[in-house]
């Protein structure tokens, strides 16, 4: 009897104590010794999956030619689930999926900014992660840290595979030591999409060329904004958000946020001056936040003539459709400046335990012309492969129903070819951009020097590495 009680007490004690130890150990281990936590997650997911074969060994890093799948699930951590869903569809349609492997994406954060802060926790958690998606604004944080990302050469992928890729995508995917760590499936060229019915009603514009002429540069854009406001009694704004205007305005300048350790505010100042005029005159509503329900409704309810979009907004189920593009009465043009917006890269986790599938997947969407062409046609996204995109434009095989049959690739292919950002991005970009737009919108009634001052204060407080 007493022996039984004693044994039970001991078992209970050990069980609780060991749970505490495991919870602690998992975190520290995965950041210091990736191999150990790979073993852990392999064991975990193998136990979960029906496949029995996966459990054995697998620890020695396999040479590139000899990749295996030690786990039955390829997990891609992202916040861009719509993109990933499209990619998985294409991957399956093309018959590329290996037998017994399941594809899985894991959303982490609702947008790129949230993902930037939540990834570190997620990637350290020991949960299964093979590939993860990172955005231009903060990719440098992750590819320059070996505990988060591994070289693509582990998958046998080198720069030589990216002859047809847009050059900037390769430059950004390379870390400080010149190691290729990320590859992009898209070239994020941007354009101005507008509601053609509203344009006809208020501006008397019949086709895209006429519309482009009306917004060909920022002064014409502003004049059109005024015309639109007057014609619609202030009901319709030319652009939905300040965030969209900023993207078009700033990326075209290709000016770095940070030079050395100094925060550069010239472009921000210029933009503040311009946008204050827009707000004062009622050309844009400062209370609407980018990517919110308000933002979606502005287009849907005919309160906004147009949006500044990146290519990844134009596909099925993506932003254009949600903003009212499903009526097929929207059109896309280059807008006042050629610009680009974000762009996402696939990075390899050091804990990848589905290397064979990860290699196939990464190659298919970042280097393989046929798959990338299929993906571009399927999703409306602008694939990161010049040859494939040129072919689509030449064939005229793409027509986007949301844009009334217009081929967005024809409009955007020149833009993609001219994207330059590799020399201007820094790991502080996302944080500085968010801080700036917040300071701008919170203090829109102040004069522009005050706004820039407030921005600098907030930016310096958040980034002790930087100076004025």
């Amino acid at each position: 009897m007493s022996k039984l009680t004693r044994t039970l007490a001991l078992v209970a004690t050990l069980a609780m104590a060991s749970s505490a130890l495991v919870a602690c150990g998992g975190n520290t281990e995965s950041s210091t010794a990736p191999a150990a936590s790979t073993a852990e997650s392999t064991a975990e997911s193998a136990a979960e999956s029906v496949e029995e074969s996966a459990a054995e060994s697998s620890e020695a890093p396999a040479p590139a030619s000899d990749l295996t799948n030690d786990d039955a699930t390829l997990t891609v951590v992202c916040w861009t689930d719509a993109d990933l869903a499209n990619m998985f569809d294409v991957y399956k349609d093309q018959g590329l999926l290996s037998d017994g492997v399941t594809l899985n994406y894991q959303n982490c954060g609702g947008n790129g900014g949230e993902a930037a802060t939540q990834y570190a926790t997620y990637l350290n958690s020991g949960d299964d992660v093979d590939l993860f998606v990172a955005e231009a604004g903060w990719i440098l944080n992750y590819i320059n840290d070996d505990s988060f990302s591994a070289p693509l050469s582990d998958l046998g992928i080198t720069e030589a595979d990216y002859g047809d890729a847009y050059k900037y995508t390769v430059e950004i995917g390379t870390d400080n030591n010149g190691v290729l760590k990320a590859a992009s499936w898209q070239a994020a060229a941007g354009g101005y999409a507008y509601n053609a019915d509203l344009a006809k009603e208020y501006l008397g514009v019949e086709d895209t060329d006429a519309m482009q002429a009306k917004v060909a540069d920022w002064s014409k854009f502003e004049a059109t904004a005024k015309e639109l406001k007057d014609a619609s009694n202030g009901e319709v704004k030319i652009a939905a958000t300040i965030g969209g205007l900023w993207q078009a305005f700033s990326t075209a300048k290709n000016a770095p946020w940070v030079e050395g350790t100094t925060i550069k505010t010239d472009v921000a100042k210029e933009f503040t001056d311009m946008v204050k005029g827009y707000v004062d005159n009622g050309y844009v509503d400062p209370s609407i936040e980018q990517w919110t329900a308000d933002w979606t409704n502005a287009g849907l309810n005919g309160k906004a003539l147009g949006y500044f979009y990146s290519t990844w907004c134009l596909g099925e189920g993506a932003q254009l459709e949600q903003n009212g593009g499903n009526a097929g009465n929207w059109r896309i043009i280059n807008g006042p400046q050629t610009f680009f917006w974000g762009g996402s890269w696939l990075c390899l986790s050091p804990n990848c335990n589905t290397k064979l599938e990860a290699q196939k997947f990464t190659k298919a969407f970042t280097a393989d012309k046929a798959t990338m062409k299929a993906y571009a046609l399927y999703s409306g996204d602008f694939a990161n492969n010049k040859a494939a995109m040129d072919e689509i434009v030449a064939e005229g095989s793409n027509s986007n129903a949301l844009l009334g049959g217009q081929d967005q690739f024809a409009v955007l292919s020149d833009v993609a070819a001219n994207i330059k950002m590799s020399d201007s991005i820094s790991k502080y970009d996302q944080s500085l951009k968010d801080t700036f737009l917040t300071a701008l919108k919170d203090n829109i009634k102040e004069d522009s020097d005050t706004i820039i001052d407030k921005f600098t204060t907030d930016a310096l407080a958040a980034n002790p590495d930087l100076s004025k």
């Binding site: 004693r6 007490a9 001991l10 209970a12 004690t13 609780m16 104590a17 505490a20 130890l21 919870a23 602690c24 609702g110 947008n111 900014g113 949230e114 930037a116 802060t117 939540q118 990834y119 570190a120 903060w138 944080n141 992750y142 320059n144 840290d145 988060f148 350790t261 509503d285 209370s287 609407i288 936040e289 980018q290 990517w291 919110t292 308000d294 409704n297 790991k427 502080y428 944080s431 968010d434 917040t438 300071a439 919108k441 919170d442 600098t456 204060t457 907030d458 930016a459 310096l460 407080a461 958040a462 980034n463 002790p464 590495d465 930087l466 100076s467 004025k468």
Partner: protein, 342 residues
């Protein structure tokens, strides 16, 4: 002479089973409470962003408190921290005062035998209800009701009624957003405080009220002379818990925003800590500032807590203790004198 068996029985100690049973708690407590606490102290002496591995001594404290430190933006960090501290105090005062007044009033009404309120139980439940909704749902509810544009219920109603000509910025406005948070916090917590105060009032001996009645005291006199003084221990408890909670106020100020980023005008110290801590990788986060701010808020809480206790200590008991000591001293002195005379 005791037999071997007797000796063995004497030697059996059951204490070790006791230790076994409490061991899990202490292990978990050490790992998840004590160590993080110590680690926060350690972090507060380390650098930020690219200097995250460096020992910087008191640099983080001098940066956020005095505006002098290694970083070029030290003054900016100080400004940010004090803005957060100011917001915390404003938001706490702004919700504590209406909350305690409202709760006290309702508690007195609900417990007064002479005021026969119908449906007491119903109102108690309804008033406590907000407290059991999660803060996330509350924030979502208010953000969707009080959005800044005319697409949202409150603004569209106000505009249709002709009360305002343009939408009121309930979320972005620097003053309106603070008032909203104060209101939400009050609404969330007054039920809880009310229940607490009610239990305090019901603990007061009813014969006191009866005696006061017979002596002809009106209800105002009863409230100020009987209820309030005897409620003091519960009031102190409410004040201290509310103060600790108020200084750590996080959920509503952080969640009450539209769009991706939290509302800077509502940045409390807890939000400041979270923001500096949660910036992705260690290279971009400010663990040092976050740690130092945590310690500062810990010290402030400790000081305010001690002051409250000092001010509300049982003065009679202390006076009695003093008297006793004095008497003891006198007695001793007397004895000494007596000793001398002998």
């Amino acid at each position: 002479m005791a037999s071997a068996a007797q000796r063995r029985i004497k030697a059996i100690s059951y204490a070790k089973y006791g230790y076994m049973f409490i061991a899990p708690f202490f292990l978990v407590y050490c790992f998840f409470q004590v160590w993080p606490l110590i680690y926060t102290f350690i972090l507060s002496f380390k650098g930020n962003q690219s200097e995250h591995a460096l020992w910087v001594g008191l640099n983080n404290y001098s940066t956020i408190l005095l505006g002098q430190g290694r970083a070029a933006g030290a003054a900016a960090s100080q400004e940010e921290f004090f803005r957060a501290l100011g917001n915390t105090l404003i938001l706490w005062f702004g919700n504590f005062i209406p909350q305690i007044l409202l709760s006290l009033l309702l508690a007195v009404w609900f417990t007064d035998a002479k005021v026969k309120l119908p449906g007491k139980g119903f109102f108690k439940v309804v008033m406590y209800m907000p407290n059991i909704i999660t803060a996330a749902s509350v924030a979502a509810l208010y953000v969707n009701l009080f959005g800044d544009s005319e697409n949202y219920f409150v603004n569209s109603t106000l505009m249709k009624m002709g009360l305002v000509s343009a939408p009121v910025a309930f979320i972005k406005g620097p003053i309106a957003s603070k008032l909203m948070v104060m209101f939400i916090q009050t609404w969330l917590w007054f039920g809880n405080t009310m229940i607490m105060l009610m239990s305090g009032i019901m603990g007061i001996n009813p014969s006191l009220f009866e005696a006061a009645d017979i002596d002809g005291a009106n209800s105002r006199q009863q409230f100020f002379r009987i209820t309030l003084p005897l409620l003091q221990p519960i009031m102190v408890y409410t004040l201290v818990t509310s103060m600790i909670g108020g200084l750590q106020m996080f959920d509503i100020p952080y969640l009450y925003h539209n769009g991706a980023n939290f509302n800077k005008q509502l940045e409390t110290v807890a939000v400041y800590i979270y923001y500096n801590f949660n910036q992705g990788t260690v290279e971009s986060a400010n663990y040092g500032y976050a740690g130092a701010a945590s310690i500062v808020i810990f010290i402030i809480t400790a000081i305010l807590g001690s002051i409250t206790f000092y001010m509300n200590r049982d003065k009679d008991a202390i006076a009695k203790k003093k008297q006793r000591k004095k008497a003891e001293k006198q007695y001793k002195a007397k004895m000494k004198q007596g000793g001398l005379t002998l």
